[in-house]
């Protein structure tokens, strides 16, 4: 491995590389020290971390830590939601748990464990850069922002409402991680971890949708057929905009979860269309060959959509009490 060849190659991409290195006079001393400590195999990664220090100030949009803290915020939202159905969490949890079959309760408990693990995992990755634990009092899962009369008033006692909010949170998470992926391309390890969380959120969403369709006391995924327009008995995947989702109408409180985001142009090449979108990468899906006779709904169902940070925050703040700046 020729370090100076790499510097030379970088110079072709970034003519200011020597200036950058000179501005950090200690870097070559740092390099020498590393050489003594690390095995040859580890050098490329160590080299990466040195350049990271040099280039860290270059504004390239949101930093990896910003994106991870955003993800951690959403995981806190989900984690505190599922904690409300945990055994031993009080009278409402007892009522709620009584409304689920044992198998379905185990599914909810597994999702709760996954979300708590995501919080732990992201905190481990972020270390001291992690945001503070917002605490349970930050959230009002009725959607009433701390006042009575929210759109999901019986969320903590009615299994159907609980599943409706759960689906909404998971579908939001799937879109948020998808939107965040392009901002994490600079760090391959973090990107893969984020993708591995992303697909778990999608598995959760699918199970919750299946349970909503079959009913909280019914274990079998095959039971309970989807009923258009899918607000109460959805498919296991998103179909069109799901008529506004679990909130009950195209203008209901969950409609933004399935709608279009803010296409602000960053990152480039990424758009935030509504879930009903049927044009991908410039290709009109309905015009593809070999798709004659496919159900019209299949073209939007085949692709989930990403969502931007600003829109996700607005959605998430539906469940944050007034006067609290979490996710603001």
């Amino acid at each position: 491995m020729n370090f100076f060849q790499i510097i030379s190659e970088i110079e072709k991409v970034d003519p200011e590389v020597y200036d950058r290195l000179d501005s950090r006079r200690s870097i070559f001393k740092h390099m020498t020290g590393l050489g003594q400590k690390l095995s040859a195999a580890a050098v490329p990664l160590a080299l990466g971390s040195i350049f990271n220090k040099v280039y860290a100030q270059t504004p390239v949009g949101a930093s990896v830590n910003d994106v991870l803290n955003f993800a951690l915020s959403l995981e806190y939202l989900e984690s505190y939601f599922y904690q409300r159905s945990a055994a031993g969490s009080g009278a409402s949890a007892v009522t709620l748990r009584g409304g689920f079959s044992g198998t379905n309760l185990a599914a909810i408990d597994l999702i709760r464990t996954d979300e708590a693990n995501h919080v732990t995992f992201l905190r481990s990755v972020l270390g001291t850069a992690a945001i503070a634990d917002p605490g349970a009092a930050t959230f009002d899962f009725t959607g009433g922002k701390g006042a009575a009369g929210g759109p999901f008033a019986d969320v903590l006692t009615n299994p159907l409402t609980y599943l409706a909010v759960a689906q909404s949170l998971e579908d939001t998470g799937v879109r948020a991680y998808k939107g965040g992926a392009a901002l994490l391309m600079s760090n391959k390890t973090v990107l893969t971890a984020a993708l591995n969380i992303h697909s778990v959120e999608a598995r959760h969403a699918s199970r919750l949708r299946t349970m909503r369709r079959a009913g909280p006391m019914n274990n079998a995924a095959s039971q309970g057929l989807p009923v258009s327009p899918y607000n109460a008995a959805p498919k296991s995947w998103i179909s069109g905009t799901d008529n506004g989702g679990a909130g009950g109408s195209p203008t209901g409180p969950t409609a933004p979860i399935y709608g279009a985001g803010n296409n602000t142009g960053a990152p480039t090449g990424v758009t935030f269309d509504a879930e009903s979108n049927t044009t991908q990468g410039g290709a009109v899906l309905t015009g593809l060959p070999n798709t004659t006779g496919f159900p019209a709904s299949a073209f939007s169902e085949a692709f989930d959509e990403a969502l931007d940070v600003t829109t996700v925050k607005t959605i998430a703040r539906t469940f944050v009490v007034n006067g609290n700046n979490f996710l603001a």
Partner: protein, 230 residues
Amino acid sequence: MSDTLQPLHTPIKRRSFFQYAGATAGATALVLAGCSKDNDPTTTTTAGTVSLGTGDVGVLNYAYALEQLEAAFYAQVVKTPAADFLTGELAYFTQIAAHEAIHRDFLKAAITSAGGSLLPTLTPIFTTINFSSRASVLNAAKTFEDLGVAAYNGAGILLKSQAYLTIAGQIVSVEARHAAYVRDLLAPGSFADDNQVDATGLDKQLTPTDVIAAAQPFITEKLDASTVGK
């Protein structure tokens, strides 16, 4: 040079993750840029082997191979439905078959649009699957869907285009929804069980060579994924 770069491409043990979770933008991208000159991909393959190609187009061809396999499988499921399918299941598999065929044809169009060399139409081998048996079909579907999820999750880091990465994300979450549904048909509540999701709450990722090795028994043509993303 390519040897010293290997650590960037090898799956990383969880514990060592934290050591370089802080590496960023300029860093990785530029190290790779610096090495591109003496890391030219080779297109030579042994006789009878089909290379998936290099770079982003290689990743697209890799996805195209998997979607061809899934689309062919579900097309057969719909064509000769298992006699013991439960109510609604055929209707669902008809929808999944459409999703996978759309993925396949979209990727074909994307590769062509990128001016890339398109993987030929593959010839599937489904002799180990009993299409008249619900259990056999569901187990095969679970295998294909979980493999697809791990494949896309592992392919993310190989892509250089943000647009392609987002597209891959748009597809993989649909595959994950399929996977969870099929798993729940097999065993209610197995949508994310612990042979799929680890103790930190993360799904699996696999390298192209590992995925193709798992898929190869179902494909007549011998595929070479060793240069995908490189």
